[in-house]
Structures are given as structure tokens and as C-alpha cells.
Symmetry: C2
Subunit: 328 residues, 2 copies
């Protein structure tokens, strides 16, 4: 039977998996990206991971499982030229105009299809995750930043030059935090996982009372405070943590309400590290969202947590390679 | 040569035109809709208008123009089931589950394709109007309400059940005007053509100084105040009119900024009656929009006034029928 390889390239790790035709993760490997070694080394590492998975599959074949790799899909951050298979700009890898599909294809001998990592994540959840069975899906990832992707009638939506999905840079009225993009008041400055942690740090430094004070007393400790620490503090009844997570959820709900009115998804998927806050984050998000959309949307709209938070990227990349190849 | 018929059905008038393969309006008729007579009478009127246009084309044929009608496209307000050709809900016509494509097809003998009127308007502008040559277009119409449509890689975007495009119901922070949809603070309550006129009436009734006071002194006069009167007053230096139009443009720019971040159009088209305010409305719109989008969008995004304000609906419907038929 045929399978595909799904690869998710992040600033920290490369994850590579063998993905079955229904999105099953049959094998999985994780290696550090080490992007400082340069693009050739990173691409060689990706090829080595594919070879390793292939060897494992070949070993399995002895026991009856005859899998055959049909294609490789890669999700990569930043701007991607999907037609030419080029990573146009991936800031956290320091890549610019890297012909990734061609090079990885030469090293592995398989056809390679590449796309943006958030689109691959949402594609995975839409095809074989929390939104399976829904044709019109809007996915949002709450991580270092906030990004979105749209699956419309089962197909990915790109926008001009593939630049759709910058939901993290929607402006929050009244917010004046500077964003790395050059604008001020962008949603992701306070509502991403990193944004929530930054808000907590600011409040603690300003002397705000919280159970987090004693745990993150030194500057070094404080720099390690994450959105997961906020979830824990919220469960202990900490007001500051509850306030930050609730506000982030509410602001994401506000932004999603406008998005729903424009693109009318049947299901919204919320994923990424920040989504690990679960209902702490989802409850205010749903409240803000449902109070701001017209009744016809309320009747059908599903707002769901991602199902394969860790694996959605490789599942999506694998299924994307399968579907791109089927179109050839 | 082949042409198509484009029909735009509104609450007041039916416009019917013969549309050439490049979107030329070869013939055009306008008749009152008279929806109170019931759906059968309205559909019969549409068929009669097609017959009248056909007779005119036949007469032209004597002088060498041998046009042949290939199909009919109809743009109709509200929810449309485009696959089954049914007008699911058109409130201002009081239509519900009307099998328009089938009935008009039987009366005329031509294949009929129907879709939502705003999508047809934007399709016309995208294919043969201000946005011709752009593949990714977001169109917004400023009329009784505010609505939007998206053309992505040359094709219309629908969302679940065809309900994408309700940009008029995006919430404006701090605004508490009740909207007909049941929500409060919807964009269209103050930024649509009707909304601008309503804001002017409220201000005049509250005793606000304006050149409009003497012109719209009685209740009856006041009820006829339109957004066109505001444009004229603004040109005369009227502060109230300038304030209302500028605010409407700014709020539309705010909403469009969020829309751009989500769907990344290459061009935005602004049409409908409210767009007749032209640069009075477009300048604040562009300022608000461009100040809130990340630089990568600013580099290419075109924000344009609709070119065929009156005819965009029939052009779009005609070209839509052409394109739907080509897919059969």
C-alpha cells in the first residue's frame, strides 16, 4: 500500500513521519533543526530522516506490511511558492529563495510538495483531525504568533502570493503594544502563547500580586515563564493568570467573529501551544465569538480544539503530498 | 457569436442585459420588480424581458450581428442554492425556496444559473470591471446594507451554505446601534449608504447645525435624505456631512484591514450606492486600511472604486452563466 512522508520543519525541530492514506502516523522521528548549520545541512538531515523511516518500513515489510512511499510533503514557516516548490522567506530558519522541493527530491528520489506550516497543520486537522468531515474549515494556531488557514470545499485557500492567514496582525482597538511586524496593537502581541507569557512577565515586573511571583522571582526564571505556567496558576485560582488567559481568549473570539462573517466556516479549529490551555481559553473565546455573529452562523458553527496538536503538521503535510500528487 | 443574458433582481427593479463574451453590455432593459404580485409574475416578467432582448438581437441580426443566446445568469438577493438553482431566502422579495432556475428555464428554453446578487456584482467587477486582470479580489458593496464577496484565483468563494461575505455585520467596538440582524454595533448600521443617511437624520433631529437643516426641515423631507445629499453637503463644506462620510469610510477601512489580513486579496473593489461618494469616502477608507495592514500587503494591494456601478450586476450574472456553462 502507498503512504506519504510528512515533514514539519520548525525553528527548533524537524519532525518527520510516515503517514497512511487516512492520516495515520505509522512512524515518527524528531531531530533538532540546527538551522545555523545552513540550508544544505538541514535539507540533508531531512533526507536522512526519510531514509531512516524508509529503513524502518522495509524492516516492517518482513512482517507483512508492504508500504511504499509515494511522495513527500513538507510544511515550512513563512512564505512558500508552492508551484515552484521554493521556500521564499522563512525568517526563523534564515532561509530566502531556497528551492527545497527540488533539492530534497534529488536527495531522496521522491516527488516533494511544500507549503506553509500553518496551512499544513490546519489541513491535517481538517482532513484527519478534529474537523474531519467538515468541508469549510478555519483553523487558527496560537503559538509564538497567531496564524490562520482556510480550507474551503476541502481545498486550501491561499490569497495573493499565498499570504492569506495573518490573523495575528489584526488590530485590537485600544491596544498600543508594539508588534515585531512594525504595527501596534496586533492581536498576537497579547493573545498568542508568547504574548500571554509576555503580559504575565510585564505584570509581575510591575509588582502585580500572583502565585507566579515566588516561582518566577529572578530575571532568569521570569524569562522561562510560559503559557503553560499560566494555565497551572489559573487552576490554582490565580487572578492574574485567569485575567491574561481570559483576555487572550476573548480577543481571539473577537477576531474570529469578524473572520466568520467574512468566510463562513462550518468549523473552527483552535490549535498550537496556546490551545493547550483548553477550556480556560476556549470558553471566553466561544463567548466572544458567538455573541458577535449573526444567528444563521450560530446554528451550525462548531468551535473545536485541535485533536493532533503535536502531529497535525506531519499528518497535514503527508495528506497534502497525497492530494497534490493525485492532481498531477 | 454567443452571448449570455445577465439579470439582476432587486427589491425595486429587474435589470436584464445581453452580455457579450468580454462583458460588453449589448442591450439592456429595466422594469419594476413588483414583487407583491408574487413569484410567478416576477419570473414571467423576467422571461418576457429575455424575449424582448432576443427580439432586439434578432432585429440587429439583419444588419450583420448574428448573436446567439447561450445561457441566462441571475443575481438575486439573499441565500441561494447554486447547485439546485433555488432562491432559498430573499427577504425583500418575500421569496422562500423558489426553484428559479428551473422555472425561468422552462419559460425561456435556456439553461439558467443563479447566484447571490453581491457575488454577481463583484464577479462582474473582477472579470470585466475595475479589477479585471487581478486573480484575487475582495469586493464590498455599500448600499442599504454592506456585503462582500471574494474571488480567489478567478473563482467565487462561498463558505458554508454560501453564507460568506456578511461584512456588514462585523462589530464596531464602542458602537451600540441596534441592527436589524439582532446584534448591536454592526458596521452597516452607520457605514452603509442607508446607515449614513440615518446618522444624518439622527443628528439633525438632535439639533445639530448643518446646511442640511433647511433642506430637510419637515419629517417627510428628512425621510428622503440620502447619502448623495451628504456628498453634496460635504462639498459645500458641511461639517456634519464630512464627519458622517469620513467615519463611515474609516470604519469600512478598519473592517477591510482585518479582512485583508485573513484573505490577502490583490485588489479591493468598493461599489454600491454609498461608493458614489467617491474619494470623500475612499480617502478615509484607504487611510484606515493601509495603516493597519502589514507591509507585505501594502506593497501590492489596490483599493479601487467599482467601474460599472449600475451594470456590474448584469455583467457579472452574464459572465457567471458563461463560466458555469463552460464547466458543464
Amino acid at each position: 500500500m502507498k503512504l506519504t512522508i510528512g515533514i514539519d520543519v520548525g525553528g527548533t525541530n524537524i519532525v518527520c513521519g510516515a503517514i497512511g492514506p487516512d492520516g495515520q502516523v505509522l512512524r515518527k522521528l524528531k531531530r533538532p533543526t540546527l538551522s545555523a548549520e545552513g540550508e544544505a545541512a538541514v535539507i540533508a538531515r531531512m533526507a536522512a530522516m526519510v531514509a531512516e523511516i524508509q529503513a524502518q518500513l522495509d524492516a516492517d515489510a518482513g512482517t507483512g506490511g508492504a508500504w511504499q512511499i509515494a511522495a513527500i510533503g513538507v510544511g515550512i514557516p513563512g512564505l512558500v511558492d508552492i508551484e515552484r516548490g521554493i521556500s521564499v522567506l522563512a525568517s526563523n530558519l534564515k532561509w530566502k529563495q531556497v528551492p527545497l522541493a527540488q533539492r530534497l527530491g534529488q536527495l531522496t528520489g521522491y516527488p516533494v510538495f511544500i507549503d506553509n506550516d500553518v496551512r499544513m497543520y490546519v489541513y491535517g486537522e481538517a482532513k484527519a483531525g478534529a474537523a474531519r468531515g467538515y468541508s469549510d474549515v478555519l483553523g487558527i494556531t496560537i503559538g509564538t504568533g497567531i496564524a490562520a488557514a482556510i480550507v474551503q470545499e476541502g481545498r486550501l485557500f491561499y490569497g495573493f502570493k499565498g499570504m492569506a492567514g495573518e490573523l495575528g496582525h489584526v488590530r485590537v482597538p485600544g491596544l498600543d503594544t508594539a508588534c515585531g511586524c512594525g504595527l501596534t496593537g496586533c492581536l498576537e502581541t497579547v493573545a498568542s502563547a508568547s504574548g500571554m507569557a509576555r503580559e504575565a512577565r510585564k505584570a509581575l515586573q510591575a509588582g502585580r500580586a500572583s502565585v507566579l511571583r515566588s516561582r518566577f522571582a529572578t530575571d532568569e526564571q521570569l524569562s522561562k515563564l510560559s503559557s503553560a505556567d499560566l494555565s497551572q496558576a489559573m487552576d490554582e485560582g490565580d487572578e492574574l493568570a485567569a485575567e491574561i488567559i481570559t483576555r487572550a481568549g476573548t480577543l481571539c473570539g473577537d477576531a474570529l467573529a469578524a473572520a466568520v462573517s467574512l468566510v463562513s466556516p462550518q468549523a473552527i479549529i483552535v490549535g498550537g501551544g496556546g490551545a493547550l490551555a483548553g477550556e480556560r481559553f476556549m470558553k471566553p473565546l466561544r463567548e466572544a465569538l458567538f455573541s458577535q455573529i449573526i444567528p444563521v452562523y450560530r446554528e451550525h458553527l462548531q468551535v473545536l480544539l485541535a485533536e493532533h496538536n503535536d502531529d497535525a503538521g506531519i499528518i497535514g503535510s503527508g495528506l497534502y503530498a497525497r492530494d497534490r500528487q493525485a492532481q498531477l
